[in-house]
Symmetry: C2
Protein backbone atom coordinates (compact mmCIF):
# COMPACT_ATOMS: atom_id res chain seq x y z
CA UNK A 1 0.00 0.00 0.00
CA UNK A 2 1.50 3.28 -0.98
CA UNK A 3 0.89 6.81 -1.90
CA UNK A 4 -2.01 7.10 -4.16
CA UNK A 5 -4.71 4.68 -3.26
CA UNK A 6 -7.40 7.29 -3.27
CA UNK A 7 -7.08 7.77 -7.00
CA UNK A 8 -7.51 4.11 -7.74
CA UNK A 9 -10.41 3.84 -5.34
CA UNK A 10 -12.08 6.76 -7.10
CA UNK A 11 -11.74 5.00 -10.44
CA UNK A 12 -13.13 1.86 -8.89
CA UNK A 13 -16.18 3.74 -7.65
CA UNK A 14 -16.77 5.43 -10.98
CA UNK A 15 -16.44 2.13 -12.79
CA UNK A 16 -19.00 0.71 -10.43
CA UNK A 17 -21.39 3.54 -11.20
CA UNK A 18 -20.76 3.19 -14.91
CA UNK A 19 -21.78 -0.45 -14.79
CA UNK A 20 -25.14 0.53 -13.36
CA UNK A 21 -26.05 2.27 -16.62
CA UNK A 22 -27.51 5.37 -15.07
CA UNK A 23 -29.26 3.53 -12.30
CA UNK A 24 -28.76 4.96 -8.85
CA UNK A 25 -26.69 3.41 -6.12
CA UNK A 26 -25.96 4.07 -2.50
CA UNK A 27 -22.62 4.45 -0.80
CA UNK A 28 -23.34 1.30 1.16
CA UNK A 29 -23.71 -0.71 -2.00
CA UNK A 30 -20.49 0.67 -3.46
CA UNK A 31 -18.68 0.05 -0.22
CA UNK A 32 -19.35 -3.65 -0.60
CA UNK A 33 -17.64 -3.70 -3.96
CA UNK A 34 -14.61 -1.75 -2.79
CA UNK A 35 -14.68 -3.61 0.49
CA UNK A 36 -14.42 -0.61 2.80
CA UNK A 37 -16.70 1.31 5.06
CA UNK A 38 -19.49 3.42 3.55
CA UNK A 39 -17.95 6.38 5.32
CA UNK A 40 -14.73 6.12 3.37
CA UNK A 41 -16.64 5.74 0.13
CA UNK A 42 -18.69 8.82 0.83
CA UNK A 43 -15.63 10.92 1.49
CA UNK A 44 -14.16 10.06 -1.89
CA UNK A 45 -17.55 10.30 -3.54
CA UNK A 46 -18.03 13.78 -2.13
CA UNK A 47 -14.88 14.95 -3.89
CA UNK A 48 -16.07 13.48 -7.15
CA UNK A 49 -19.37 15.19 -6.64
CA UNK A 50 -17.75 18.58 -6.09
CA UNK A 51 -15.75 18.08 -9.26
CA UNK A 52 -18.97 17.47 -11.14
CA UNK A 53 -18.21 13.87 -12.07
CA UNK A 54 -21.08 12.37 -10.13
CA UNK A 55 -24.43 13.70 -9.02
CA UNK A 56 -25.77 12.90 -5.63
CA UNK A 57 -29.09 13.43 -3.95
CA UNK A 58 -29.44 13.64 -0.21
CA UNK A 59 -32.25 12.70 2.08
CA UNK A 60 -34.03 9.40 2.28
CA UNK A 61 -33.53 7.41 -0.90
CA UNK A 62 -30.53 9.60 -1.59
CA UNK A 63 -28.20 8.08 -4.15
CA UNK A 64 -25.50 8.76 -6.68
CA UNK A 65 -24.99 8.33 -10.41
CA UNK A 66 -22.53 9.47 -13.04
CA UNK A 67 -22.98 13.06 -14.10
CA UNK A 68 -21.67 12.36 -17.60
CA UNK A 69 -21.24 9.44 -19.93
CA UNK A 70 -18.18 7.29 -19.18
CA UNK A 71 -16.63 8.31 -22.48
CA UNK A 72 -16.60 11.92 -21.33
CA UNK A 73 -14.83 11.30 -18.04
CA UNK A 74 -11.07 11.11 -18.34
CA UNK A 75 -8.71 9.80 -15.72
CA UNK A 76 -7.24 13.26 -15.58
CA UNK A 77 -10.61 14.53 -14.39
CA UNK A 78 -10.47 11.95 -11.63
CA UNK A 79 -6.88 12.81 -10.78
CA UNK A 80 -7.79 16.45 -10.30
CA UNK A 81 -10.99 15.63 -8.48
CA UNK A 82 -9.31 13.64 -5.73
CA UNK A 83 -6.56 16.24 -5.47
CA UNK A 84 -3.81 13.65 -5.86
CA UNK A 85 -0.29 14.74 -5.05
CA UNK A 86 2.26 15.75 -7.64
CA UNK A 87 4.43 13.02 -9.05
CA UNK A 88 7.60 14.41 -7.56
CA UNK A 89 8.17 16.36 -4.43
CA UNK A 90 11.18 18.57 -4.07
CA UNK A 91 13.09 18.45 -0.84
CA UNK A 92 13.04 21.35 1.52
CA UNK A 93 16.32 22.62 2.88
CA UNK A 94 17.97 25.85 3.81
CA UNK A 95 19.98 27.08 0.82
CA UNK A 96 23.62 27.50 1.70
CA UNK A 97 24.58 30.94 0.50
CA UNK A 98 27.98 30.40 -1.06
CA UNK A 99 26.82 27.34 -2.99
CA UNK A 100 25.42 27.92 -6.48
CA UNK A 101 23.86 24.48 -6.62
CA UNK A 102 22.18 24.77 -3.28
CA UNK A 103 20.70 28.15 -4.10
CA UNK A 104 19.32 27.35 -7.54
CA UNK A 105 18.61 23.66 -7.72
CA UNK A 106 15.06 24.04 -6.56
CA UNK A 107 14.16 26.35 -9.38
CA UNK A 108 15.89 24.14 -11.93
CA UNK A 109 14.17 21.05 -10.66
CA UNK A 110 10.78 22.65 -10.67
CA UNK A 111 11.19 23.59 -14.27
CA UNK A 112 12.23 20.08 -15.27
CA UNK A 113 9.60 18.31 -13.25
CA UNK A 114 6.83 20.51 -14.57
CA UNK A 115 7.47 18.91 -17.95
CA UNK A 116 7.21 15.47 -16.46
CA UNK A 117 4.03 16.30 -14.65
CA UNK A 118 2.54 17.64 -17.87
CA UNK A 119 3.46 14.47 -19.75
CA UNK A 120 1.85 12.36 -17.11
CA UNK A 121 -1.33 14.42 -17.11
CA UNK A 122 -1.56 14.32 -20.89
CA UNK A 123 -1.41 10.56 -20.70
CA UNK A 124 -4.18 10.46 -18.12
CA UNK A 125 -6.30 12.77 -20.23
CA UNK A 126 -6.17 10.26 -23.07
CA UNK A 127 -7.79 7.50 -21.04
CA UNK A 128 -11.50 7.61 -20.33
CA UNK A 129 -13.68 5.75 -17.90
CA UNK A 130 -15.24 4.02 -20.89
CA UNK A 131 -11.86 2.48 -21.71
CA UNK A 132 -11.63 1.09 -18.20
CA UNK A 133 -15.15 -0.27 -18.27
CA UNK A 134 -14.68 -1.98 -21.61
CA UNK A 135 -11.62 -3.74 -20.22
CA UNK A 136 -13.66 -5.00 -17.30
CA UNK A 137 -16.02 -6.89 -19.53
CA UNK A 138 -13.46 -8.88 -21.46
Amino acid sequence: MAVNTQFSIAVHLLAGLACQDGQETTSGHLAMSVNTSPSFVRRTLAKLSKAGLVETTTGKSGACRLARKPGRISLLDVYHAVDAPKVFAIHEYAPQKPCVVSCNIKMALEKALAKTQAAMEASLAAITLADIVSDLKK
Copy 2:
Protein backbone atom coordinates in the same frame (compact mmCIF):
# COMPACT_ATOMS: atom_id res chain seq x y z
CA MET B 1 7.53 17.41 2.39
CA ALA B 2 6.05 14.50 0.57
CA VAL B 3 6.70 11.26 -1.12
CA ASN B 4 9.67 11.53 -3.30
CA THR B 5 12.34 13.61 -1.75
CA GLN B 6 15.04 11.08 -2.37
CA PHE B 7 14.83 11.59 -6.10
CA SER B 8 15.28 15.32 -5.84
CA ILE B 9 18.10 14.92 -3.37
CA ALA B 10 19.85 12.57 -5.76
CA VAL B 11 19.60 15.14 -8.53
CA HIS B 12 20.92 17.77 -6.18
CA LEU B 13 23.92 15.61 -5.36
CA LEU B 14 24.65 14.85 -9.00
CA ALA B 15 24.35 18.51 -9.90
CA GLY B 16 26.82 19.25 -7.16
CA LEU B 17 29.25 16.72 -8.55
CA ALA B 18 28.74 18.02 -12.07
CA CYS B 19 29.73 21.50 -10.98
CA GLN B 20 33.03 20.19 -9.75
CA ASP B 21 34.04 19.34 -13.32
CA GLY B 22 35.46 15.94 -12.59
CA GLN B 23 37.11 17.01 -9.38
CA GLU B 24 36.51 14.71 -6.45
CA THR B 25 34.37 15.52 -3.46
CA THR B 26 33.53 13.94 -0.14
CA SER B 27 30.15 13.13 1.29
CA GLY B 28 30.77 15.64 4.02
CA HIS B 29 31.24 18.41 1.50
CA LEU B 30 28.07 17.47 -0.38
CA ALA B 31 26.15 17.22 2.85
CA MET B 32 26.79 20.88 3.50
CA SER B 33 25.19 21.84 0.20
CA VAL B 34 22.13 19.66 0.72
CA ASN B 35 22.07 20.59 4.37
CA THR B 36 21.79 17.10 5.81
CA SER B 37 24.01 14.65 7.56
CA PRO B 38 26.86 12.99 5.65
CA SER B 39 25.29 9.68 6.52
CA PHE B 40 22.15 10.45 4.61
CA VAL B 41 24.15 11.65 1.65
CA ARG B 42 26.18 8.47 1.59
CA ARG B 43 23.12 6.30 1.57
CA THR B 44 21.75 8.02 -1.49
CA LEU B 45 25.18 8.19 -3.05
CA ALA B 46 25.61 4.46 -2.59
CA LYS B 47 22.53 3.82 -4.70
CA LEU B 48 23.83 6.09 -7.42
CA SER B 49 27.12 4.28 -7.27
CA LYS B 50 25.49 0.88 -7.67
CA ALA B 51 23.60 2.19 -10.66
CA GLY B 52 26.89 3.26 -12.21
CA LEU B 53 26.14 6.97 -12.19
CA VAL B 54 28.94 7.91 -9.84
CA GLU B 55 32.26 6.33 -9.01
CA THR B 56 33.51 6.23 -5.49
CA THR B 57 36.79 5.29 -3.89
CA THR B 58 37.04 4.12 -0.33
CA GLY B 59 39.77 4.45 2.22
CA LYS B 60 41.50 7.60 3.32
CA SER B 61 41.05 10.35 0.75
CA GLY B 62 38.10 8.40 -0.56
CA ALA B 63 35.86 10.50 -2.73
CA CYS B 64 33.24 10.49 -5.43
CA ARG B 65 32.83 11.88 -8.91
CA LEU B 66 30.47 11.47 -11.84
CA ALA B 67 30.98 8.29 -13.80
CA ARG B 68 29.78 9.87 -17.03
CA LYS B 69 29.40 13.29 -18.53
CA PRO B 70 26.31 15.19 -17.35
CA GLY B 71 24.89 15.06 -20.86
CA ARG B 72 24.84 11.29 -20.69
CA ILE B 73 22.95 11.03 -17.41
CA SER B 74 19.20 11.32 -17.78
CA LEU B 75 16.74 11.93 -14.99
CA LEU B 76 15.29 8.53 -15.80
CA ASP B 77 18.63 6.98 -14.87
CA VAL B 78 18.39 8.75 -11.54
CA TYR B 79 14.77 7.71 -11.06
CA HIS B 80 15.67 4.09 -11.51
CA ALA B 81 18.80 4.38 -9.43
CA VAL B 82 17.04 5.57 -6.31
CA ASP B 83 14.29 3.04 -6.82
CA ALA B 84 11.55 5.63 -6.63
CA PRO B 85 8.01 4.36 -6.28
CA LYS B 86 5.55 4.10 -9.12
CA VAL B 87 3.41 7.12 -9.84
CA PHE B 88 0.20 5.40 -8.89
CA ALA B 89 -0.46 2.70 -6.40
CA ILE B 90 -3.48 0.48 -6.75
CA HIS B 91 -5.50 -0.21 -3.68
CA GLU B 92 -5.54 -3.67 -2.19
CA TYR B 93 -8.86 -5.21 -1.31
CA ALA B 94 -10.52 -8.56 -1.29
CA PRO B 95 -12.40 -8.97 -4.56
CA GLN B 96 -16.07 -9.58 -3.95
CA LYS B 97 -16.99 -12.59 -6.04
CA PRO B 98 -20.36 -11.62 -7.52
CA CYS B 99 -19.13 -8.18 -8.54
CA VAL B 100 -17.60 -7.83 -12.00
CA VAL B 101 -16.04 -4.49 -11.19
CA SER B 102 -14.47 -5.64 -7.98
CA CYS B 103 -12.96 -8.71 -9.62
CA ASN B 104 -11.46 -7.03 -12.67
CA ILE B 105 -10.76 -3.42 -11.85
CA LYS B 106 -7.24 -4.11 -10.71
CA MET B 107 -6.25 -5.62 -14.01
CA ALA B 108 -7.90 -2.81 -15.95
CA LEU B 109 -6.23 -0.16 -13.83
CA GLU B 110 -2.83 -1.73 -14.16
CA LYS B 111 -3.11 -1.68 -17.90
CA ALA B 112 -4.12 1.97 -17.97
CA LEU B 113 -1.58 3.14 -15.45
CA ALA B 114 1.24 1.35 -17.22
CA LYS B 115 0.71 3.78 -20.08
CA THR B 116 0.89 6.72 -17.73
CA GLN B 117 4.01 5.42 -16.09
CA ALA B 118 5.63 4.97 -19.50
CA ALA B 119 4.75 8.53 -20.52
CA MET B 120 6.27 9.87 -17.35
CA GLU B 121 9.45 7.86 -17.79
CA ALA B 122 9.82 8.94 -21.39
CA SER B 123 9.64 12.52 -20.23
CA LEU B 124 12.31 11.91 -17.62
CA ALA B 125 14.51 10.23 -20.19
CA ALA B 126 14.48 13.39 -22.27
CA ILE B 127 16.01 15.54 -19.54
CA THR B 128 19.69 15.22 -18.76
CA LEU B 129 21.77 16.36 -15.87
CA ALA B 130 23.42 18.81 -18.25
CA ASP B 131 20.07 20.52 -18.73
CA ILE B 132 19.71 20.95 -15.01
CA VAL B 133 23.22 22.27 -14.59
CA SER B 134 22.87 24.80 -17.40
CA ASP B 135 19.75 26.15 -15.68
CA LEU B 136 21.69 26.58 -12.49
CA LYS B 137 24.09 28.99 -14.06
CA LYS B 138 21.55 31.40 -15.49
